[in-house]
């Protein structure tokens, strides 16, 4: 059984980049639409290339670090992050790719980590919420969430922070209406939408400014894709 990397390199089978293309028009935070458009593509293109169910080594690049894990192909990126790497900022909430609590950035794009198998993410740069903090230095989005009290229980908050970060990267001058649409891929139960909106709006009015952390990561991505 060839592994997926071989398939991609030989040009046969499906490539992750192909279905990223299909969804690139979707705004960063509408990851719900993203998952809906990608799943059928994956199914149709992977026919005849059924992967082994056995665990295999999977190397993931997360927050700039390489991690090799032994995982069955069915293990989601979310479970790998949470259970194998103890990166628990991404939360497991809905089981149904609906709520965005597990939002991470894959090659800069907001994605539900529960909607991806870990093996699919080899070769991609994965950014989790943990990357937005270095000791006492935090990304501006985190600062804004705290300033506007855009959280209560906080369980949806890291996912919302990631969705907001990605959305503002792509829409630095977003309007209120843009924000209300663009952050529609996440759900909060406590009712913190007001604070989140205020936070996103305030940053957008400053031109979606990136913090040093984000500048570095975005810079890396630009260099990679150039």
């Amino acid at each position: 059984m060839r592994d997926r990397k071989d398939q991609n390199e030989s040009g046969s089978g499906f490539s992750r980049r192909d279905f990223l293309k299909g969804s690139s028009a979707a705004a960063a935070a509408t990851a719900m639409a993203t998952s809906a458009t990608e799943s059928p593509a994956q199914q149709s293109q992977s026919q005849g290339n059924v992967a082994s169910a056995e665990a295999r080594d999977v190397t993931l690049s997360i927050n700039g670090q390489q991690h090799t894990l032994s995982l069955e192909p069915r293990v989601t990126l979310l479970d790998a992050l949470r259970n194998d790497l103890n990166l628990t900022g991404a939360k497991d909430v809905c089981d149904t790719t609906t709520c965005g609590a597990c939002t991470v950035l894959i090659d800069g794009k907001a994605t539900y980590a529960c909607a991806r198998f870990a093996v699919e993410c080899e070769g991609a740069e994965i950014q989790t919420v943990e990357s937005l903090r270095n000791g006492s230095e935090v990304d501006e989005v985190i600062e804004g969430f705290v300033e506007h009290d855009a959280m209560q229980c906080g369980f949806c908050t890291p996912g919302f922070v990631m969705a907001t970060r990605a959305f503002l990267n792509e829409n630095p001058n977003a309007s209120l209406e843009d924000i209300q649409k663009g952050l529609g891929g996440n759900i909060c139960r406590c009712g913190t939408y007001h604070g989140i909106t205020q936070c996103a709006l305030q940053i957008a009015q400053k031109g979606g400014a990136c913090s040093w952390l984000n500048e570095r990561l975005v810079g890396d991505l630009v260099a990679k894709t150039a």
């Binding site: 949470r82 969430f145 959280m151 229980c153 906080g154």
Partner: protein, 713 residues
């Protein structure tokens, strides 16, 4: 400072209390560093998955877990309801499996062989006739006061209406669950997603046959509770049993579907209401019969609270519970109130319409029948200004239609107690000037830790960075469960008392050391002063404490004026309804809320805004949908159980009503009130827009269209 009496300081002298202070754990939560129960991964942790019943009623005729036990990677299987067990609702837990990996546990659950003998079930809670025919009704009381018949015949207008509000769930984003780990055979550490840190140890000890003193309960962060997380739960006990059998730590969180089916819901309420008034809009008679279900025990929302907020002289009321094969209810934010508010405020609004009155005027006219007419009147005035009521209200349905979109405004009132729960705190002042507070409370996201730190820092006149707050462990002095808006008073009272007492002790040390009169010493901005002169800094004063910390215990509640109970509140909504699609948009939604002394204005407003959004949810979109053919909860997931998203809530205004008279009352809880009157306010706004009542909440597009067609929603 002269007299040493417990109390809050003069409002104008507060440095922190009453201002907007960011929550102290905000960065931890937003950056993903905060560890919730679902995040606990101690070395060797096994993952548990559950097998649940797929029938609404019947018997388990076979349950063979051997195939699961034999699987590689499976460490323990625990049967909760085996052969012969009776099933009374879908989702009942049958067995739990703990395995090396979650996917192995899922395989093992699938390998378990189960069969049932189904029996008759009933889930149709709004159909009173069918429930009676099926023998599923339970009388839940009736009573009478005054002379309703006479009042009805003397009334200028009598209105009869049918109203309802469906069952909703708590939908905690962190499901119910725990992480259990034994040290040796006896000592059990439970990370529990709980609103009741101090009160759940015994629930584990008894069934496991261990001492209560051997159970440690820890909950540093909880991902939502809303009233549903006071118990260890059978899933909690199952987790502990698995950990015991496996000799390894186990984490068991309910999956989303099971969470919705069995971990709690808010009972439904449906009512036939007759309401009558005189020409001036005075409500003269009320007659209601309400029914609904809380699930299998067949209780119903409380009889004694209808009509809600308003005490009507001539009143008949009756309640009937329906026994349904649905998961058990749990307290849901402001138990009973949102349903009864919706059933009452909508009928009042329809009466106003029949009288040809502005419903604002009718509510105002009847404020003398409430417990706090002045507060409601003031709040209504503030709310009306913000929502521009006078410009926006029109007789029901008589507003302008813009391409089929019609707008309207509506309002409703609410009330809640919010008395402080019992609690103890242990305060430590160290010789380096740092302070710690310990209490077995929990921060549900309301800002409990922040308001404790504010209370202490305000009392000592020191920065909040000097204060460490410890909650979330049953090793700390006990604190009441966080429910019913009891926590803010529960924890601020004891911490204020302890801080004041500690401060007086430090003042005595300062007075002795520097030779001044202790009664003349004041603490402010990090310094001690006497007679207008600075004596020493806070840090210098704390050095006088010596190597052992100064410890003071604070208790509560007490009748010393720090806390109080009883609030009002008003909500007003401005909505647009698309009469072609039935879609309702909230344009603006206002809550004017009193709550006594506000400690943190920022988190207080967050509570109100959050309540309003939950109110929009149950008014417009969320509901438990049961299938009468299968008895199953068919939208038990986050995709089909509709919650509003960020673009669905409109402009929200949380206006805290805080004249000095409120400050002087002391601290009163705030969590429940702002979630109560949303259903009534939004329903009334929709009726004002389209001219017909959408009788049942949530007002889904389908129900709106049915109401417009004149059909039953």
């Amino acid at each position: 400072m002269a007299e040493r009496t417990i109390g809050w300081g003069p409002r104008s002298e507060n440095r922190l209390i009453g201002s907007e202070v960011q929550r102290i754990d905000g960065v931890g939560k937003a950056s993903g560093a905060a560890k919730y129960t679902a995040d606990i991964n101690t070395p060797g942790t096994l993952y548990a998955k559950l097998l649940t019943a797929t029938i609404a009623a019947g018997k388990v005729t076979r349950l063979n877990v051997a195939p699961a036990e034999e699987m590689e990677g499976v460490h323990a299987v625990h049967v909760l309801n085996g052969e012969g067990a009776e099933i009374r609702y879908e989702g009942t837990l049958l067995a739990a499996v703990a395995a090396e990996r979650p996917e192995i546990a899922e395989d093992a659950v699938r390998a378990i062989e189960v069969s049932y003998e189904p029996s008759e079930f009933f889930v149709d809670d709004d159909n009173l006739e069918a429930a009676e025919a099926a023998g599923r009704t339970k009388p839940q009381g009736e009573n009478t006061q005054g002379d309703v018949e006479a009042a009805l015949s003397a009334a200028k207008v009598v209105h009869k209406g049918y109203y309802g509000i469906n069952t909703i769930t708590h939908m905690c984003l962190e499901p119910h669950g725990s992480h259990c780990e034994f040290t040796g055979d006896e000592d059990l550490t439970v990370h529990l997603s709980t609103q009741n840190v101090s009160g759940t140890g015994g629930q584990f000890a008894g069934p496991l046959g261990i001492d209560e003193s051997s159970v440690s309960i820890i909950c540093n962060y909880i991902g939502g509770g809303f009233g549903s997380k006071f118990q260890a739960g059978e899933w909690g006990l199952a987790c502990a049993q698995l950990a015991k059998k496996a000799g390894r730590p186990v984490r068991l969180m309910l999956d989303r579907s099971t969470e919705l089916k069995i971990a709690g819901n808010r009972p439904s309420g449906f009512a036939e209401v007759t309401i009558a008034g005189d020409a001036d809009g005075n409500i003269t008679a009320w007659d209601s019969h309400h029914w609904g279900t809380s699930g299998i025990n067949g209780s119903v929302v409380r009889l004694s609270l209808i009509p809600y907020v308003f005490e009507i002289e001539n009143r008949n009321r009756k309640a009937t519970g329906i026994v349904c094969n649905r998961g058990p209810n749990q307290a849901w934010r402001a138990p009973n109130h949102p349903q009864l508010s919706a059933l009452t405020a909508t009928a009042m609004d329809d009466l106003a319409d029949k009288l040809g009155m502005d419903s604002y005027d009718l509510f105002k006219k009847n404020l003398d029948k409430t417990e706090r007419p002045d507060v409601y009147a003031a709040e209504m005035e503030v709310g009306a200004k913000i929502i521009d009521w006078k410009a926006k209200w029109h007789p029901h349905g008589k507003g302008e239609s813009r391409g089929g979109v019609k707008s309207g405004v509506g309002m409703a009132l609410h009330t809640w107690g919010g008395r402080a729960h019992a609690a103890i705190c242990q305060l430590k002042v160290h010789s380096d000037g740092t302070v710690e507070s310990y209490g077995g409370s929990q921060d549900l996201g309301t800002g409990t830790k922040t308001i404790i730190a504010m209370t202490i820092a305000e009392t000592f006149g020191i920065p909040m960075s000097k204060v460490k707050v410890h909650v979330g462990s049953n090793a700390y002095p006990k604190s009441g469960p966080s429910g019913g808006s009891t926590t803010v008073g529960g924890v601020s009272g004891p911490n204020r008392r302890a801080s004041q007492e500690a401060l007086w002790k430090i003042m005595d040390l300062v007075a002795a050391k520097y030779g001044v009169d202790a009664d003349s010493v004041e603490a402010k901005d990090g310094y001690f002063r006497s007679g207008g002169k600075t004596i020493c800094s806070w840090t210098q004063a704390c050095r006088l404490i010596g190597p052992m910390p100064l410890e003071v215990q604070g208790t509560g509640p007490k009748d010393d004026g720090l806390t109080d109970q009883g609030v009002g509140g008003v909500q007003m909504a401005d909505v647009s309804v698309d009469t072609e699609t039935g879609i309702i948009r909230v344009n603006k939604f206002v809550c004017v809320q009193d709550c006594g002394l506000i400690i943190d204005l920022l988190t207080a407003k967050s509570q109100v805004l959050g309540g309003m959004i939950m109110g929009i949810a149950y008014a417009l979109s969320e509901e438990q949908v049961m299938d009468n053919n299968t008895g199953r909860f068919i939208n038990a997931d986050l995709e089909n159980y509709k919650l509003p998203r960020i673009g669905d809530v409109g402009e929200l205004v949380a206006e805290m009503y805080q004249p000095d008279s409120e400050y002087d009352r002391g601290v009163i809880g705030l969590g429940e009130p702002p979630v109560i009157s949303s259903g009534g306010a939004l329903s009334n706004a929709v009726a004002n827009a389209i001219g017909v009542r959408v009788p049942v909440l949530p007002m889904t597009p389908q129900r709106v269209l049915e109401a417009l067609k004149g059909g039953q929603a």
